[in-house]
């Protein structure tokens, strides 16, 4: 044991970093897959309970094995590519949708120790790579050679591009307040009790962030890119088997990601009133995920113009005003921020 420890400590730091990254990535893949299974089950149970029915019930106790059955079915299905579709782009899209998401989990601080990688620009990394998802949606819709797919892709791109702006503005307000772009440092700046969290200082930014991520992850009430009633499946109409499965996994991985980022930015990350640790982080993430599901089964889908109006006429001006107010406070009343941050430290 001691020898192994010595061997690793004798390695150059760069090699250690690579090992650290590899281990983190493997752990993240496991984490994302496990979460997807839990979330699919949770989603169906929440849907059932909201509609006053029991949800999945038959397979296993309370239907817990239903998701496993569905996954096996999905894997066993034939993967069909429509004629006249672009083979390279068609297969590239689901891969492009899923795999970048794994990278985005690297800078997430699950606890003070459980962080895959802590770059100075962690939040910037997430925001930059989140854009790849848009390309995946576009490619999927375009390569399918299907009108529904193309329409869904067009909707998805315009929606994601539009909602990225208020999302960035709300994150920028936090970054301006805390003076850092590293998620670990942002969490360090907050305390365990709810009034020491950033949401207490930036409630408007939190609301804008929340609404924007609903649109970014294509969740109801902003699920227009895959609106079943108009577009059958939207951009993933033509995908079967694990092609669709990867999009599905990516959706749930993205949900976990945006909720993790929200937890780190606004809700004090892994800090709680007692016993700081990853359990607080997961509890907060799952509360947010539950809220996302609750919203999905409450509100009807918005019309496209309503959705873009909400973005350009409400969230964007609100985000700019919030940013200006933050800048004003930080410049002229640094004492206020000091008091709050002092309380948190």
């Amino acid at each position: 044991m001691q020898q192994i420890f010595d061997f690793f400590t004798s390695l150059p730091p760069m090699v250690l970093d690579v090992i650290h990254l590899a281990v983190a990535l493997v752990a993240i893949i496991a984490f994302v897959s496990a979460n997807a299974i839990v979330l699919v089950y949770m989603e169906r149970k929440v849907a059932g309970f909201v509609q006053r029915r029991p949800g999945p019930y038959e397979v296993g106790p309370q239907g817990v094995l239903q998701v496993v059955c569905d996954a096996v079915k999905l894997i066993g299905k034939q993967i069909v590519r429509p004629t006249h579709s672009d083979p390279a782009l068609f297969w590239l899209a689901p891969v492009l949708a899923f795999f970048p998401v794994l990278l985005l989990f690297l800078p997430i601080p699950f606890s003070s120790l459980l962080t895959g990688w802590n770059p100075d620009l962690g939040i910037l990394l997430i925001l930059a790579f989140a854009g790849i998802n848009v390309i995946a949606v576009l490619l999927a819709g375009y390569a399918s050679n299907n009108k529904w797919g193309l329409l869904g892709a067009a909707r998805g791109v315009s929606q994601s591009v539009a909602y990225e702006i208020p999302l960035l503005l709300s994150v920028l307000a936090i970054a301006m307040m805390t003076g850092t772009l590293s998620l670990t440092n942002i969490v360090d700046g907050q305390g365990g009790w709810p009034w020491q969290w950033n949401i207490f200082l930036q409630p408007v930014a939190f609301v804008i962030y929340l609404i924007s991520v609903f649109a970014e992850t294509n969740r109801a009430p902003f699920d227009l890119p895959e609106g079943e009633s108009e577009l059958t499946g939207g951009f993933h109409t033509e995908y079967s088997g694990m092609g669709f499965g990867l999009f599905f996994l990516a959706e749930y991985a993205n949900m976990v990601l945006v909720c993790s980022v929200a937890t780190a930015l606004f809700l004090g990350g892994w800090k709680g009133p007692f016993f700081d640790g990853p359990w607080w982080f997961m509890a907060k993430v799952y509360s947010l995920l539950f809220f996302m599901m609750w919203v999905r089964w409450t509100y009807p889908r918005m019309r496209f113009d309503q959705m873009l109006n909400l973005n350009w006429k409400w969230l964007l001006p609100l985000g700019v005003l919030n940013l200006l107010a933050t800048a004003f406070c930080m410049k002229f009343f640094p004492m206020i921020a000091k008091i709050f941050q002092g309380g948190a430290a």
Binding site: V46, F49, V50, R52, P54, Y57, W294, W297, T298, Y299
Partner: protein, 200 residues
């Protein structure tokens, strides 16, 4: 200015409505489930009684195995999808003695009556596969001989399972139903006896 105030009011109202919606679904989330877990549970009788199943005939108060039906064919005419078939009973053929008595009465200048056909139907079948449960027959029936059954868990493996002989069904239900004191004993009812009942 006025517009701005109205717009702001509508916005506040709209945002409030979002919370109202969340409240409703949240309440449903924690409240009791309203579904029945079918193979292991069945709907309670009170709820099943509001269910409109395939139509069935109503028996007479005296003999529940004999329908009130007078074979007037109004239900057949009222049915928009022609799923009811009714056949009247033929008039009984007079015996030689009766014929003789009839002829003599006629010769005396009286106005004798031929024995009339019994009113209850000989055949009453109903094709549930075509029925739209519109209740036209129930409303058309002048003697209230048709009602909706509350058969919730009806199932069959062939088309013919839903081509229901309502007379046979009535006899079956009359047998299985608890016999009331006033009602005549049902088992005696067969195809030979109903003439007396119908004329009553």
């Amino acid at each position: 200015m006025k517009n701005m105030i109205r717009c702001a009011g509508e916005t506040v109202k709209g945002i409030w409505s979002l919370f109202v919606g969340l409240g409703i679904t949240g309440k449903y989330f924690v409240s009791r489930k309203r579904t029945t877990y079918y193979p292991r549970e069945t709907v309670e009788k009170a709820a099943a009684d509001s269910f409109r199943g395939p139509i069935e005939l109503v028996g007479t108060p005296k003999n529940p195995a004999i329908p009130k039906c007078i074979s007037c064919m109004l239900c057949v005419q009222a049915c928009p999808s022609n799923c009811i078939t009714v056949k009247k009973r033929p008039a009984p053929v007079m015996t030689a003695e009766e014929q003789k008595a009839f002829d003599e009465a006629l010769a005396r200048g009286e106005n004798p009556k031929k024995p009339s056909a019994p009113k209850d139907p000989a055949v009453y079948t109903y094709d549930f596969t075509y029925c739209s449960l519109c209740a036209c027959c129930v409303e058309a029936c002048p003697v209230n001989s048709i009602k909706f059954s509350h058969e919730l868990y009806l199932s069959g493996t062939r088309r013919e399972d839903f081509n229901i002989d309502l007379l046979a069904r009535l006899k079956r239900t009359a047998k299985s139903a608890p016999v009331k004191e006033k009602a005549a004993p049902a088992p005696a009812a067969t195809d030979e006896t109903p003439a007396t009942e119908a004329s009553a």
